[in-house]
């Protein structure tokens, strides 16, 4: 027990230490950006104002909504597509399974940096530049291979005799899956959802070239922060924005984790 607590402390320290420095910097006066006093000094809220200041051309507020919208859409679609593909791979027998699963995995092998130019041209040709779908569709495809593989590996571990029993009781394939398997797979599905959401939340390369001022996600908005002068990197404002976008996300994930898992499990017991 003591060892567990010590380990937990080490983990928390390791994860939080750089974040601590981020917060200290976020609250520090811009004139003291490079001060290395390890505790908060020259405390100010000005950096947070800068981060949200549309007068300075920073669109963080709008960008957070954009990221939330893009992330939610990507997660839902990737999970829907991912669960159905994973179900087929884990549960059905068909020819060409090896090739299909190989092709899905291969989508994670091409250097992302080389995708920008072709996608830019494709989306320009069909008039999608700067639209939400131009950001959502690539993000879905970046999240999909991992989603499919993770879900396949989890689904394969499920007690499928329960599903068969449900079908003998008169459930359709879909009903059996939803009532019997989903509740059991809930933790895995939820983990996959977090993976998909954060992969979309973190996406920067593609969005930096395909988004517009109105649709840009937080990563692009933060990278667009400008210092007071050319060459000046606005670290304090970047760290303030980083803090703003990280803390709610962590809280949100923790709340969802309890609610969703609890809800799904409860439904399972009833069904």
């Amino acid at each position: 027990m003591v060892r567990t607590v010590i380990s937990a402390l080490v983990i928390v320290l390791w994860c939080i230490a750089p974040f601590y420095w981020m917060i200290v910097t976020a609250f520090r006066d811009v004139g003291f950006t490079y001060d290395t006093t390890p505790w908060p000094t020259h405390v100010t809220l000005a950096n947070f104002e800068t981060a949200f200041s549309t007068a300075l051309g920073n669109h963080l507020g709008q960008a957070m909504l954009n990221s939330l919208f893009i992330g939610a859409t990507v997660t839902v679609v990737a999970l829907l597509f991912g669960i159905s593909a994973a179900y087929a791979l884990a549960r059905l027998e068909f020819k060409g399974k090896g090739i299909i699963s190989g092709a899905i995995l291969a989508a994670s092998m091409f250097p992302g940096v080389a995708l920008i130019t072709p996608l830019f041209q494709l989306f320009t040709n069909i008039g999608w530049m700067g639209t939400y779908q131009a950001l959502i569709i690539p993000s879905i495809s970046f999240a999909l291979p991992l989603t499919v593989y993770t879900l396949t590996s989890f689904l394969r571990e499920m007690p499928w005799d329960l599903e068969e029993a449900a079908r003998i009781d008169g459930c359709t394939r879909v009903q059996a899956f939803r009532r019997v398997i989903m509740p059991l797979a809930a933790p895995a599905v939820f983990t996959t959802a977090i993976l998909a959401f954060i992969s979309s939340w973190n996406e920067y390369l593609i969005s930096s070239q395909l988004s517009s001022d109105a649709t840009q996600p937080v990563t692009v908005a933060i990278a667009g922060f400008a210092g007071s002068q050319p060459h000046v990197e606005p670290y304090t404002a970047i760290m303030a924005a980083g803090t703003i976008v990280t803390v709610p996300l962590v809280i949100l994930v923790l709340i969802f984790q309890r609610r969703i898992v609890a809800g799904l499990t409860a439904g399972g017991v009833k069904g």
Partner: protein, 425 residues
């Protein structure tokens, strides 16, 4: 048994898409009958594209223009703050032949590349632009193949920041500066630093060393590298030797503009080569301990005033613009003395008009202007080459090895020469 037909279907769809997209992927040449000669007389609304508007200069200017030109309104499209991304963003839009990028702000080193790709409208004939009163070196950066392709918009030159409490008169030559390093040593601080991390700034500093010693990177034709000359060796050796004997501190190999500025402002550095932006910050930053104890001087060369590398931006008109007449008028507006003065007062950006550097109002606000003028007058543009990305890579990589002592200066320059040749032939 049912075959899984989907794979082939998807495969065909993919290949079809690829073929459809292929034609737009090839580079476009802007020959005379092409888009370059179209829409020269056409007026109408246009878009101006520029990187982040750091100190709110562009928006007021655009508002002013729009008030005077209600039927030819300018929309300001702001790019990111990072030069590489601005470059890539422009390339993507030009490749897609985007008619909505009418006037674009290009770094001085991109002008030749974009012109050679046929993306910039030559400023000749109807589009001719008056360049009298501008710095000749700035005009040179906008000129490719003897044709003007862009309007110099802002300039920039390196200056030597020095500590007035430690050094009474600034050094005129490199040797003089090195001989003052004992002062720094006894004060317990580092002597000199510039930008030596492996990025564009290293090309700037290495070229300054080479040009300051009378050498050059490319011959006048803009193609043939001239890096194996004795002067080039002498120039780069100045930096390499200073690293070796500690006159440049070892950590300077990690310095970009900001790290050097911070070291100088925290009193840890006696001489700093940097751009004019440092001046205001070192005077006003809360953490600056040198607020009243520094001044600027022209860069020292081998035998006299050194040759700064020229920075700055040019404004160019896309060949795909639908309203080039308006675009040209907007360039004239950017170039005007009034606008140029606004760049200086509002944004502390270096104007391209020489006369403004003698303007008493401006000097009162930006006391470094006379020094900057001398710097820019002596400045040498970086190579005006359509292969600039390869040229700068060759310089960065090899200069970095030489400064770290992993390679002799001679070998580094020989390799630099060969790498530039391989890339540009």
């Amino acid at each position: 048994m049912k075959k899984f037909r989907l794979v082939s279907a998807a495969g065909i769809a993919v290949i079809g898409l690829a073929l459809a997209g292929c034609s737009s992927g090839s580079p476009s040449g802007g020959s005379s009958g092409g888009p370059a000669g179209a829409n020269l007389d056409s007026h109408g609304p246009i878009t101006y594209v520029q990187g982040k508007d750091n100190s709110n200069v562009v928006r007021p200017l655009v508002d002013k223009w729009n008030a005077a030109h209600p039927t030819e309104k300018v929309t300001f499209k702001e790019q990111s703050d990072q030069a590489d991304q601005q470059h890539d963003d422009l390339v993507q839009h030009f490749q897609a032949k985007d008619p909505n990028y009418d006037v674009v702000d290009v770094d001085v080193v991109w002008t030749a590349e974009f012109a050679a790709k046929g993306w910039l409208t030559p400023l000749t004939g109807k589009m001719k632009l008056d360049t009298t009163g501008l710095f000749p070196s700035a005009v040179k950066t906008a000129t490719y193949n003897k044709t003007l392709f862009a309007a110099p918009q802002t300039s920039d030159g390196g200056m030597l920041y020095y500590r007035t409490d430690l050094v009474k008169t600034p050094p005129k030559t490199w040797d003089e500066m090195m001989s003052m390093c004992s002062i720094a040593k006894s004060a317990g601080i580092a002597c000199y630093a510039g930008q030596f991390a492996k990025y564009e700034g290293l090309t700037v500093n290495a070229s300054e060393a080479i040009n300051g010693a009378g050498g050059s990177v490319l011959a006048a034709d803009g193609v043939t590298p001239t890096l194996t000359s004795a002067d080039a060796v002498k120039g780069l050796s100045l930096l390499a030797d200073a690293f070796k004997n500690g006159n440049i501190p070892a950590e300077a190999i990690t310095y970009q503009e900001e790290q050097g500025r911070i070291a100088f402002e925290s009193g840890k550095l006696m001489f700093l080569r940097n751009w004019p932006y440092v001046y205001g910050l070192a005077k006003s930053d809360g953490s600056s301990v040198v607020k009243d104890t520094f001044a600027v001087a022209p860069l020292p060369g081998l035998t006299g005033t050194g040759a700064s590398t020229l920075g700055g931006h040019n404004a160019a008109i896309s060949v795909y613009s639908k309203h080039k007449a308006t675009a040209r008028d907007f360039l004239t507006f950017l170039e005007s003395a009034e606008t140029q003065k606004f760049f200086a007062t509002q944004g502390s950006l270096a104007p391209v008009r020489t006369s403004l550097y003698d303007d008493a109002d401006l000097i009162a606000k930006l006391p470094y202007l006379p020094t900057l003028k001398e710097s820019i007058l002596n400045a040498i543009p970086r190579p005006v080459s359509p292969f600039y990305p390869a040229v700068t890579k060759a310089i960065e990589d090899n200069a970095y090895s030489a400064l770290k002592g992993d390679k002799s200066v001679k070998q580094a320059l020989t390799d630099m020469q060969a790498a530039i040749k391989a890339a540009t032939s």
